[in-house]
Subunit: 215 residues, 2 copies
């Protein structure tokens, strides 16, 4: 059973951590776990964990003991859609694109990249990590035929908007965007930006502080 609610983005992003933590706990043979224990493991506030759990889990916790691990795992996996995989296509078979195609981990997270697209004649019709690369012109046809709703953008920033437009025309409703640009899309289409440069910025600032302190 799945609760039909929407989490905040922050709460949602904590879920995979809960799941990872719970699986580890389960591996150790533990069947009941408290929100406090999870919080300690993940360096989070215990009330926050309890709140997150209560948002999407039908399970109630028992005072003094906690929650049943299996039920939590099942509830979270259900909510995150890990049990019914989403098919996706990827555009831009560069180094990053290839890495994503080759990342078998994604299947565990309910994502299945079924095909890739590019404009480079040398790559088109090749098979990379078991996935065929098509010419970009075939995108719309394939998406409509296969009812694909997730598109991944791993092209350079200057071509990203163009790809996004093609996506929208092909019925894509959720875009995973690795290009450093804010895409313009209709309201009903979600863009999840993966911003590696932003992460580097955070690292850089910290490093600068550290160096300044020790100089």
């Amino acid at each position: 059973m799945k609760k039909d609610v929407n989490l905040t983005v922050q709460a949602l992003q904590r879920m995979p951590y809960y799941l990872q933590c719970l699986r580890k706990v389960k591996e150790n043979g533990i069947q009941i776990v408290s929100a406090t224990a999870i919080a300690n493991e993940l360096n989070l506030n215990d009330v926050l964990v309890r709140k997150d759990i209560s948002m999407i889990c039908t399970t109630k916790g028992k005072p003094k003991t906690g929650f049943i691990v299996d039920e939590l795992i099942e509830n979270i996996e259900d909510y995150l859609g890990y049990n019914n995989t989403m098919d996706a296509i990827l555009v831009g078979v560069g180094s990053l694109g290839k890495a994503l195609l080759g990342n078998s981990e994604f299947n565990k997270f309910g994502l299945n990249i079924i095909a890739a697209f590019d404009i480079d004649e040398d790559i088109i019709n090749q098979v990379i990590c078991g996935k065929k690369v098509f010419a970009i012109e075939k995108l719309q046809n394939l998406c409509e035929r296969m009812h694909i709703h997730i598109g991944i953008i791993t092209v350079p920033a200057e071509f990203a908007q163009e790809v996004a437009d093609k996506f929208v025309n092909s019925g894509i409703k959720a875009i995973w965007n690795f290009a450093l640009i804010k895409l313009s899309v209709p309201e009903d289409v979600l863009v999840q930006n993966e911003n590696l440069a932003a992460s580097l910025a955070v690292l850089s600032q910290h490093l600068r502080n550290e160096m300044d302190e020790n100089k």
Copy 2:
């Protein structure tokens, strides 16, 4: 000249977008830009943009016109450390690790991965994308000798803490962690988590909402 302040993580993560936007503006031959224009381009609030700029830029804006594009670019690049590259090492030469090694874009963001490490005998001593792969045992020595302060973790979650410990012992002060686990490190070491599963969770939730609406 660089302002010696700390931005919030959110503000910091907007900086690469400002930069990308400003470079595009500059390419179009525009020399002065208003915070309002940037905000519109990036779908942000104009006051927010102005505040972010004022935090790290010595430049003052002129009413009715805006800011000098070149000065903004220089200030942001300086702040993000794009002009003096940071050397980094990477542990875990799987599909993701290889992708990061091969991503020449990082140099633009001031990151230079100088070497990689793994435990797989078949990979050790190979050269991947111009970077040599060493046995993990050589990590500490190399880091200390080369004064490396940034470490990238692309190993499976179960080995990530072990790698992090090695990093800490080797003088690493900032860790870019692609494993789905919260690492325990001393206070002065920063961990930037790159959580691809979390992004997928966001996509999944949106898709579920879309499907529910149209059923």
